[in-house]
Every structure is written in C-alpha cells, then in structure tokens.
C-alpha cells in the first residue's frame, strides 16, 4: 500500500515538467497556429525562407564551435587546478549572460567601434579600422561572449565532479597523456560537452538581439525574420510557418543529441579531492592565459560601467555621479517611474522564485529521463521552451491567458522564467546523473533507505557541482530576461532590464547614462548571485 502511494507521487512529480512545458509552451504555440495558419507560406516565399534557415543553421554551428573553443580550455583549467580567484572567474563568465543586447552593442562600440581604444591604436600604426558593427564578425564574437559561460559552467561542473582520479588511475596503468585524454577524459566528459553544445546551438540558432543590434538589417535568423514579418506587416501566417521550422530544428537537434549520447555507458562516481594549485611554469602560463581571456571578454562590460560615470555635458571628461543620483528622482512625475531599489527588489524576488522553481523542475526532469521509454521525444519536449519563437510565444500567451483574465498576474513572470531556465538546469544535471552508478542507489536501498531518501541523501549531494552550475545559470537567465518581462510585466512592478529598455526609448544623455548605471547594477547583482551560489560548494 505504502509503497504504491510513494510510486504514484513519484510518477506525478516526474510528469510535472512535461505538463508545465505543454501548458506554457505548446498550447500557446498551437493557439497561434490555429489563429493564423493558412496552409503555410506560399511557394514564392520558400527561396527566401530557405536562405534564412540556412544562415541560422550555419552561423549557429560556427558560433557553437567558437564558444566551445573559448569555453572548454577554461573548464579544463577550473577543473584541474586551484586557479587563483576561481570563484570570481566563474562569476565573471556568467556576467555577459544578463546584459540586454542593446547595452552589449553599446559596449562593443565603446571597445571595438571606430572611436574605441583599439581603433585609435590601429590608426596610430597607419591602418584603416574596418566597420565592426554591423558585421558577421561582431555577431560571432557576441555569440561567444554570451555563451562561453554556459560551456564553462556545464562542462566545468561535470569535469570537477569527475575529479583527477580516473585519469590518474589510467596514467598509473601506463597510459600516455594522449591515451588518458582520448580514452578516459573524452568519453567521460562527452555527454557534458554535448549538453553544453546543444544549449549553445539552440540559443544561437534562435538568436535575436545579437543579430538585430550587431548584425544589421541585412542579416536574418528565423526568429528575427518572424519579428520582421509581424512587426509592421502583420504577416502572422508566414510567422507561423517560420515558428514551425524553428521548432523542427530544435527538436531534431535535441533528438540527435539524445541519440548520440544515449550510448555512453554510465561511469563510477567520484567524490573528488580538491584540485591542486598550478605548479609548473607551463601550468601557470595556462592559468594566466585563461584569466587574460576572461578579462578580455569583460572589457565591453567594464567600458559600460565606466560610461555610466561620465558627466552629462557633451565631450566633458572626468567622473560624475550624476546618472546614479538621477536614478532615484522622478522630475517629470512619470506614472511609470520606479525607484531603482524597487526594480532591484522586483528582479531579485522574481529571480529567487524562478530559480527555485527551475531547480525543482530541472531535477524532476533529469530523473524522469532515467526511464528509457521514448526518451528521445521526451527530451526533445523538455527542450522546447528554448526552441519556441519568443515572438510567437508572446502572441500565444495573449491568446491563451488573455481570455482567462490572467495576463497581468504577477506570478506569470517567475513561471515564464522558470520555463526558460529549467532546460539549463536539466542540461547541467542530466549528464552528471547519467554518470552516477545505479549501484549506489541499490546499495542505499539494501541498507533500508526509501527511494526518496536515496535520492535526497545519496544522489543529490553527489550532484552538487551540477546543481550549483544549473542554479547559477537559471538565476542569470531570470535576471537578464527582457522579452518575457516585457510581455508579461506590469508597469508598476518592472524588472531592471525593463527599466533599462524604457530609458533607452527616449533621447538624452541622462536617459543613456541612467540605463548604463542600471546595467552596472544588474552586473553587480549577477556577480553576487553567482558568488553566493558558488559558495555553497565546499
């Protein structure tokens, strides 16, 4: 009796993430298709759609490779050595994640633009500085900038959990460093690397702000094209076709991933000892190179923070607190004004609730994927929130939640953020969970532990590294979100990105500087959240 009750609760709990995705993702999407489908796009539109799809695919593939190239060495460094300032480094790689793209574009212009320090230096040597924005180079760079933190967090988490022991054991048995790498490390890490790559691919495939602000109007991903077709032309039918295409690609990518990684055998878990500090000169050089990379990627952010302290007079030099002081004032008596403390409060509250929800859903989802039945499709369903066009989903929410009168409910934002964030928790957790030896659970059961207790006391503690990485990513998603907050947010309870967006909607030095000051606060909060989460690891 008691046993079947527990089993039922377990089954219901594991079904929750699917129900959640269906209610908040699939149903709104179907509602839009139902309202606007007119048999797909006409044949004359196909060549253009094919070009858009092709560009989305190849730039996403290239961006993913580049993000891996930047992120994997850092993940290795952080896993293998006690890098000085490693917590700060892990927090720094997450910062770009929360930057609104329009603000990032400003940071790129400040560092790489024709009036930036690099261009000045280049001209000193007599060169002509190329147009950096808009260009494909800027888009790829921005994609790496936004996503290398995902690779560092997810792969780094898995690598740390792995510990140096399997490699040491292999070396002891006479394997060469190359053999250790190709026969031991790569097979063990491959699910985590693939997990991170899948995320980056899905993110950059659906890239929106980076393309719009750094790629220029001549570049289009599927998501950007959906927006361009709906914003002024109101071509919802074409948008629906594009949304379906986008969904198809995400589903295929996830299914491909599941199929590829499904054949990796589970590994024995390690409770890994602390990594050693770098000793040899080569190791120190690697650490220095890693820090140089992270700092280089932090430069655009630093440029923004500095600009928020610029005086409001045009061309004046020196530092000024004018923008920061103005944040708390409402000289026009605007109905939409909120004091920064309140926006920070809203952002933090939403982030805490959304991350807790995402963490819970992510754990349940990861556990539900341990059952092999139809795993390919279930995993694809769970990744859908990242693959559904945000523009389309926005219209869908209006159609589904509007008639229910729920569109202005305050709980919608954390719920929407949890929907966007839990796939990250899942991606972080699933490879680690797969590497857990099932014999551990069996041993616990043999010793009299209930399944719940085995999960709670044995497995989750072993997964701590992955949980922490997932929680940090989820918090960053929620803090940085602009789209969902814009759609569901209420003017009386805006988040920080929403206030930034409003400020940048009007001309004027004070608006610009205040937007940058708020962006600096957002960076600070994200860094603090990342450090706080990271500290929970001993």
């Amino acid at each position: 009796m008691e046993r079947s009750g527990t089993a039922l609760i377990g089954r219901v709990a594991r079904a929750l993430p699917y129900a959640f995705v269906a209610a908040c993702g699939l149903i709104p999407l179907l509602a839009v298709l139902h309202a606007s489908w007119r048999g797909g796009a006409g044949t004359d539109a196909w060549p253009h759609l094919a070009a858009v799809l092709g560009f989305s695919l190849w730039q996403a593939a290239l961006s993913t490779l580049l993000a891996l190239a930047a992120g994997l060495p850092l993940a290795w460094l952080l896993a293998r050595f006690r890098v000085p300032g490693r917590r700060v480094m892990r927090a720094l790689v997450l910062l770009p994640f929360v930057m609104p793209t329009v603000v990032t574009a400003a940071g790129f212009v400040a560092t790489l633009g024709p009036r930036g320090p690099l261009a000045e230096l280049w001209r000193e040597f007599g060169g002509t500085w190329p147009t950096v924005i808009p260009s494909l180079g800027a888009v790829l760079l921005a994609h790496v900038f936004y996503n290398y933190g995902v690779v560092v967090q997810i792969v780094g988490g898995a690598w740390r959990a792995l510990g140096p022991r399997p490699a040491e054991a292999a070396a002891l048995l006479g394997a060469t460093p190359w053999q250790v790498f190709s026969r031991v490390t790569v097979p063990l890490l491959w699910p985590a690397v693939a997990s991170a790559a899948l995320l980056v691919f899905i993110y950059t495939f659906g890239s929106f702000g980076v393309i719009v602000f750094l790629g220029g109007a001549r570049m289009a991903t599927v998501e950007v094209e959906i927006w361009r077709q709906t914003a002024q032309l109101l071509r919802l039918d074409l948008a629906a076709t594009l949304a379906l295409l986008q969904l198809g690609v995400t589903t295929l990518a996830t299914a491909g991933y599941t199929w590829l990684t499904g054949r990796v055998a589970p590994q024995t878990p390690q409770v890994s000892p602390e990594a050693p500090p770098p000793r040899r000169r080569r190791e120190w050089l690697a650490v220095a190179a890693g820090w140089a990379l992270v700092l280089a990627f932090s430069l655009p952010l630093l440029a923004l923070v500095l600009r928020s302290f610029a005086p409001l007079e045009r061309g004046a030099s020196g530092l000024s607190l004018a923008a920061w002081r103005l944040l708390g004032e409402n000289p026009r008596g605007s109905y939409f004004f909120v004091p920064p403390a309140q926006a920070i409060g809203n952002s933090l509250l939403i982030t805490v609730v959304a991350s807790a929800l995402a963490l819970a859903l992510g754990v349940l989802a990861a556990y539900s994927l341990r059952t092999p039945t139809r795993r390919v499709w279930r995993e694809a369903l769970l990744m859908l929130p990242l693959g559904i066009s945000a523009v389309t989903l926005g219209l869908g929410f209006v159609l589904v939640f509007g008639p229910l009168g729920r569109l202005r409910d305050l709980w919608l934002i954390p719920v929407a953020h949890a929907l966007l964030a839990f796939p990250l928790v899942l991606r972080s957790l699933a490879p680690a969970l797969r590497n857990l030896d099932p014999r551990l659970r069996e041993a616990a059961a043999l010793l009299g532990a209930t399944p719940w207790r085995a999960v709670w006391r044995v497995e989750l503690p072993l997964l701590r590294g992955a949980l922490i990485a997932g929680a940090a990513l989820a918090a960053a998603v929620s803090l940085g979100d602009y789209g969902a907050a814009l759609l569901l947010g209420r003017p009386d309870a805006p988040t920080i990105p929403l206030v930034i967006g409003r400020l940048l909607g009007q001309p004027g030095a004070a608006n610009y500087a205040q937007a940058l000051a708020l962006a600096s606060i957002l960076l600070l909060l994200t860094g603090a959240c990342a450090l706080l989460v990271d500290r929970s690891e001993r």
Binding site: R115, I133, Y335, A360, G402, W411, L504, G505, P507, G508
Partner: protein, 366 residues
C-alpha cells in the same frame, strides 16, 4: 516515516512560496488611498492597452481616477505594431477597454479589423479637421509627431559642412556613409521616412522613390532595425557617440537632449534638417465589446482634454493634437515642426504598405 514528513513539508513550503512570494508586491502595488465615489465604484479597473512608448504623469492619471472614482490600469503591449497585433488577435475576448497608439500608418488596418466601437466624442469634434482622419468616429486624434532627420551640430561644424538642405542632397557623395535610417519593416520612424520619400519623389516619373533609395544605398546608408540602436549606437550626436552624424529620428529629439541633460546643456547638441518630413498622428479608440463603455468614453474625452494634452509634450515628446494647448519652454525653443510636412492617405498606406516594404527590402537590403 520521518523522510515522508520531510517531503510533505518541503512540498508545502515550496507551494506556499510560489503562491505567496509573487503576491507580495501585488499587495503593495494596489493603491489603497483612492476614495471611490459611488458612481462607478466597481472592483474592475479600466484597462488601457497601448505601446511601450506610452507615458503619462502620475498626477494626470490620479486626476482621472479622482473625478471618476475608477481605477486605471495601463497595459503596455510591445511596439505599435505588436500592440495592435495583440488587440486584433484578442478581439473575441478583449484584454482592455481602450486602445491608445494606432497611428495613421496603421489606421486603416485597425479599422478594417473591426476592433473599435464608434463614439461621438464631443472633445474630438473640437479637434482640427486635418487630424480627424476617421470619418466613422471610431478613432480620435490625440497627438501629432514629425519624423525628421537629426544632425550632430558639432560634427558638421568640425568637418566644415553645412547641413543638407534637401532630401536629394543626401544622395550626394559628400554625405557618403553619414546617414542612418531604420528598417521600415520593423520600425515606425523607419516606415515614416520611407513614406516621406514616396510622397516626395512619387511612384512614377523620371526619378522615383526607388531611384532615390538606390542612390542612398550606393551612398552607403546604414539601416538598423530599431530607433534605439540607430540613435544610441551609431549616431554621433547622442551620448552613445557613434560614428555617423545624420539619423532619422523625431523633430523633438533635440529638445529632449536639452531636457534630459539635467541642466548640463543650454543648447541642443543636435538639430533637424529642414527637409520634408512625415506627420504621424496617434489615435485612441474604445475597444469593441467593453463592459465599461461609459467609463471608456470618459477616458477618451479625458485624453483629448486639457490636462492630458498639456502633459503630452514632456512625457511622449510629440505635439498635443488640441490647438492652443500650452507648450513647455524647451519645446517652443528647440522642438521643430517641418516647413513642409508630407502625408499619404491611410487607405493608400494600407493598400500599398506590403508592396512598398517588399520593394524597399529588395532595393536596399538584399
């Protein structure tokens, strides 16, 4: 046994957390002090659906709430096009009672979709005839804006250039790589500027708007998707300090630069080119099927009335539609209205918009 208690407690705590945490700001956000005269004292607020650029003073909304006893809730729903999209998609179960922000480029679309109810507004009757574009009495004019080309005064002065005096001049090699415009498919000032060139150069003849855009493209015009990045990322006259000195923006932007410098500037760093410019008129209407029709009527009249009209300039940086509305000093000193405003009939815009944007896209972007 004990562990099951654990789970139950955790689950309960989690659910309670979900239910309570977001509810907390709701409690603080609801105005508590509003006295409610008996007239329309219902719990349901009057909902105004609008675009993200909508802005108003707290005091003005409070005045409406005080005189009517109603509670007003504002529902920003994306840019002009997205907001209208949502209103049209949800017309069977309207999300709001009043919609503000349909402009003359979208007017025909909105009217054809049948989302508005006619209202014989006494306040609208007092508006000048040339802004009352809807003869069916469903959309009422609230404000008027001009999409104009701003230039960076210091940059032109330093380069020893006099500002271009005509649209034609912008295609001159002297202005190569200097101008930023927005994509008419995604930006309302972008569409307004395209319409300016269509109205000015015409569709047929020896030199059409297409020839003009070919020339602009050959002259390295930069196209952005939105106003924000055109103005803040690429325009040299803004705080973003981009590389180009000419940008499609609004006639009031130089005045806003002075106002938002918080006293640091006594003169705008930018000015408007004296070339033909498009006139945008924004309208308000009552959404069909509202259960609060009487209150919605009062809100429409209120938007067209003296308090709201006088509040428009510094909140939304456009001109009040009602003649004789007092203007703030920064407006009279630095905001420009073009000597030559161009317009196209809304029906023609609606009929041709898709073709025009399509042709423009192939000419300029592909």
């Amino acid at each position: 046994m004990t562990n099951r208690w654990w789970i139950a407690l955790l689950a309960a705590g989690w659910l309670a957390g979900c239910a309570q945490a977001p509810a907390a700001p709701a409690a603080t956000a609801t105005p508590t002090a509003t006295a409610t005269p008996a007239a329309v004292a219902s719990g349901e607020p009057l909902v105004i659906m609008t675009h993200d650029s909508f802005s108003v003073s707290e005091a003005v909304i409070a005045e409406f709430e005080r005189t009517t006893g109603a509670r007003v809730e504002i529902l920003p729903s994306g840019d002009t096009g997205s907001a209208l999209n949502k209103a049209i998609l949800s017309k069977d179960a309207p999300l709001a009672d009043v919609f503000f922000g349909v402009d003359n480029t979208f007017m025909s679309r909105a009217l054809a979709a049948g989302i508005f109810e006619p209202y014989d507004s006494p306040a609208a009757a007092a508006m000048p005839a040339d802004v009352r574009l809807d003869p069916t009495g469903r959309l009422h004019p609230v404000d008027v804006g001009y999409v104009m080309i701003n230039y960076d005064r210091a940059a032109l002065r330093d380069a020893g250039l006099t500002p271009p005096a005509t649209l034609e001049e912008l295609a001159d090699p002297r202005w190569r790589g200097q101008l930023i415009v927005q994509n008419p498919a995604t930006s309302s000032p972008g569409l307004a500027f395209l319409l300016t060139t269509i109205a000015h150069f015409g569709e047929d003849g020896a030199y059409t708007w297409r020839d003009y855009w070919r020339a602009l493209r050959a002259n390295d015009v930069l196209v952005t998707d939105g106003w924000e990045d055109a103005y803040y990322t690429h325009f040299s006259g803004s705080s973003g300090a981009g590389p180009r000195p000419l940008v499609v923006s609004y006639g009031t932007s130089p005045a806003a630069e002075v106002f938002f410098s918080e006293g640091a500037l006594s003169e705008p760093p930018t000015a408007n080119l004296d070339v033909p410019a498009f006139r945008q008129i924004e309208f308000v209407g009552i959404l069909a099927g509202t259960p609060r029709r009487a209150l919605a009527e009062r809100f429409v009249d209120f938007m067209l009335g003296p308090s709201f009209q006088a509040d428009i300039p510094l909140q939304m940086w456009v001109w009040p539609a009602a003649p004789g509305t007092p203007l703030p000093e920064v407006f009279t000193a630095f905001a420009a209205r073009p000597a030559r405003a161009v317009e196209l009939p809304p029906e023609r815009i609606e009929a041709e918009r898709e073709r025009w944007i399509g042709e423009w896209t192939s000419l300029v972007l592909r």
